[in-house]
């Protein structure tokens, strides 16, 4: 056989992920360039709500940046954040009703905090300490919290999609008015679970909102390498699932798209695939260096659409916000973070014996034996086990 040359076939377009895509005509958008709201699409949030959401977005970013710093200092092992995706994450969680459930991917700690996960608990998870609801068994940012109707983060991409569909289906079978909203990335649309989840959602008309955070990248792989389709919302048609694209950096658009989808689901009109066009301003995680693959300038261009800045400009234009308020907010958040972090960092590691709990409801003989052997062994001391 002859040597394979590279003059044909698909290539990584080195084209940048263009902010213009998020501004295209078929994309739901509420905030106009001048900061005013399009009355046709406006979800009509109260002043207090908008302020609360702005604070939640800033809080998310402050915590995010702090987590990156903790990782750099070696105080935690890993962090995966949401820089630039705060409007998508906070806006969608806000759209949920109290009875609704949220099935996270791994970037949505901002949604969890909005729903009530205490900040200290989140830090407990980053430290993997004895206070962590996941008992220190999973990596940082793999939290869970039943009290606040938050599913459990897991690493395998896409698995939560099918689960959220099954969850919502169960609610419908029980005649409960409960909607499940599930997050996933653009890369996850290639997973088998995306297909299975969308297909079952369509066939059984489950009350699920399937929220694709299209942030342009799956680690180093750009969206056009995930699919040859026109965007992701259009994939809904293959499953009889309603599809919507929204500007994911426009808080109002996200709230509007998700509220509509939730109302639809609650009415019994079935699932919606919401594609939120946004951008991952950071690397994939603290383990990633995006310089190796990301075209120059892309970040700068998208920074101009920074969802927090856009919302702040709107608040300022509305006369609701200014430098003093901003300074006060940051001071308040700094103190909150400091206190929560201090409390979390003090906690010990989980007890050695806890390793053998929750594999089953009750540990069978082989786990009891393994536990006893470990506790009797040379390292058992010092772990409170």
């Amino acid at each position: 056989m002859t040597t394979v040359s590279t003059d044909r076939g698909p290539h990584h377009r080195s084209a940048e992920r263009r902010p213009e895509d998020a501004l295209a005509a078929d994309v739901l958008r509420v905030m106009r360039p001048d900061g005013s709201l399009d009355p046709a699409a406006d979800p009509h949030l109260s002043d207090a709500e908008v302020l609360a959401l702005y604070r939640a977005m800033v809080r998310t970013r402050v915590v995010d940046e702090r987590a990156v710093a903790l990782q750099r200092q070696g105080r935690i092992g890993f962090h995966i954040g949401s820089l630039g995706e705060e409007a998508t994450i906070v806006g969608s969680a806000f759209a949920l009703r109290p009875q609704d459930w949220l099935f996270p991917c791994y970037r949505e700690f901002g949604a969890a905090l909005l729903r009530g996960l205490p900040l200290e608990r989140y830090f407990d998870n980053l430290f993997g300490n004895a206070g962590d609801l996941a008992k220190g068994r999973q990596m940082p940012d793999h939290w869970c919290d039943r009290e606040h109707k938050l599913g459990s983060v897991s690493s395998p991409i896409g698995t939560q999609i099918t689960q959220a569909v099954g969850f919502a289906w169960a609610a419908r079978l029980r005649r409960d008015d409960v909607v499940a909203l599930v997050y996933f990335g653009d890369g996850a649309t290639s997973s088998s679970d995306f297909h299975n989840g969308l297909n079952f959602a369509g066939v059984y008309r489950t009350p699920t909102v399937l929220l694709c955070r299209n942030n342009g990248w799956a680690i180093s792989v750009p969206t056009e390498r995930q699919t040859a389709s026109e965007g992701f919302a259009s994939k809904g048609a293959a499953y009889g699932v309603h599809g919507v694209r929204c500007d994911g950096n426009d808080l109002f658009a996200v709230v509007r798209a998700c509220r509509d989808a939730i109302a639809r689901a609650s009415r019994g009109d079935g699932p919606t695939l919401v594609e939120a066009l946004t951008y991952r301003l950071s690397g994939h995680s603290t383990s990633d260096d995006p310089k190796a693959y990301r075209p120059e300038g892309e970040v700068a261009r998208w920074s101009e659409l920074d969802p927090i800045e856009r919302l702040r400009a709107h608040l300022v234009a509305r006369g609701q916000w200014g430098a003093p308020a901003e300074a006060a907010l940051h001071a308040e958040l700094a103190e909150e973070v400091r206190a929560s972090l201090a409390a979390a960092e003090k906690k010990p590691a989980p007890a050695l014996a806890s390793m053998f709990e929750d594999v089953y409801a009750e540990p069978p003989w082989h786990l009891r034996e393994q536990r006893e052997a470990l506790l009797a062994g040379p390292r058992a001391k010092g772990h409170g086990g």
């Binding site: 962590d132 609801l133 996941a134 008992k135 068994r137 999973q138 793999h142 869970c144 919290d145 039943r146 599913g151 459990s152 897991s154 395998p156 698995t159 999609i161 099918t162 689960q163 959220a164 569909v165 099954g166 969850f167 919502a168 289906w169 169960a170 609610a171 079978l173 029980r174 499940a180 088998s192 679970d193 297909h195 299975n196 989840g197 297909n199 079952f200 066939v203 709990e357 929750d358 594999v359 089953y360 409801a361 009750e362 069978p364 003989w365 082989h366």
Partner: protein, 324 residues
């Protein structure tokens, strides 16, 4: 007591439990209108309707993935996988999600279901309608695995499995679906998980097995008896966590162990049993434990009766062990 075969006994268990507990939902390919390709769910669709007996799209990953969601909501799904050979498209949801959900959520989210699926050879099913994948699930912490050999156990074990707080793989030996006929108690009863049963007492050689191979072991044991060797047959019933006490007690008595299973030998459950017996009864062993199993090849079609560890292959192993 009624005479039932295993299909009827499982059907009876499902019907009873669906009546008793309205959270129980059956789903899978062809389980509804037609009552399953082996008719195990026959009649349930008519009795409980299409929201509790659900024909699904052809996707095992979708079946188990959505069943996990149902379980998280509080239902008790009993999905059927049409043949165990077709469980692998759902393997990721089972091993990465179902098996780990309770653990990884610090106990916040118990996540249980009973996955029913026919296993084993002997029905001329070739590569993909004959396999016995129990080891691929036992190795994954967090799952329980059951495989009954007779109708009465099948009913009692299934009722126990559905009420158990943990996820259970319920393997049904399809070769004896109809042949394993016997007295089955009416109404509600359970056979506790984790308890083996000595189905034949004997002093010379212990045979540990389960499912359809119990009958082959019995056959071999009768022939061995004619040659003066008495086998004790332990029917595991629950493959994991297995009843170590029963196995060890028998081996301590006989000093000799033969494990019989249909799955390929390498890294099968047989090896685990041999190792556990080494660890717990080494000084009682009077002969090296022997495994009589499927070969380390894909499951063949025409030669399946040569592949399976039937009585004609068990007997020489038993006699050699006894004479060792």
């Amino acid at each position: 007591m009624a005479q039932m075969n295993m299909v009827q006994a499982i059907n009876d268990a499902l019907r009873l439990e669906m009546k008793r507990d309205d959270r129980v939902v059956v789903l899978g390919e062809d389980v509804g209108k037609v009552g399953g390709v082996f008719r195990v769910t026959a009649g349930l669709y008519d009795e409980f309707g299409d929201e509790r007996v659900i024909d699904t799209p052809l996707s095992e990953g979708g079946i188990i993935g959505t069943a996990i969601g149902m379980a998280l909501y509080g239902l008790v799904p009993v999905p059927e996988i049409q043949f165990a050979d077709f469980i692998f498209p759902a393997y990721d949801q089972i091993v990465s999600e179902l098996a780990k959900y309770r653990y990884r959520s610090g106990g916040e989210y118990p996540c249980k279901m009973v996955i029913r699926t026919p296993v084993g050879g002997g029905i001329r099913g070739g590569h993909y309608h004959s396999q016995s994948p129990e080891a691929q699930f036992i190795h994954v912490a967090g799952l329980k695995v059951v495989c009954p050999s007779n109708a009465a156990d099948a009913k009692g074990l299934l009722l126990a499995a559905i009420r158990d707080p943990d996820p259970v793989l319920f393997f049904e030996p399809k070769r004896v679906y109809r042949a394993a006929k016997g007295e089955v108690p009416e109404g509600d009863y359970t056979v506790p998980l984790g308890q083996a049963k000595v189905v034949r007492p004997g002093a010379d050689v212990t045979i540990v097995t389960w499912g359809a191979m119990v009958y082959e072991a019995l056959d071999a044991a009768n022939k061995a008896s004619a040659e003066g060797v008495e086998c004790e047959i332990v029917d595991l019933r629950t493959l994991w966590p297995l009843d170590i006490d029963s196995v060890v007690a028998s081996v301590k008595k006989t000093g000799r162990l033969v494990v019989v299973h249909e799955a390929p030998r390498s890294c099968g459950l047989g090896g685990e049993i041999v190792s556990l017996v080494n660890e717990k009864a080494f000084l009682h062993l009077e002969a090296p434990p022997v495994r009589v199993t499927g070969f380390d090849t894909p499951f063949p079609y025409t030669l399946e009766m040569e592949y399976l560890p039937l009585a004609h292959r068990i007997l020489p192993a038993v006699l050699a062990t006894a004479k060792y």
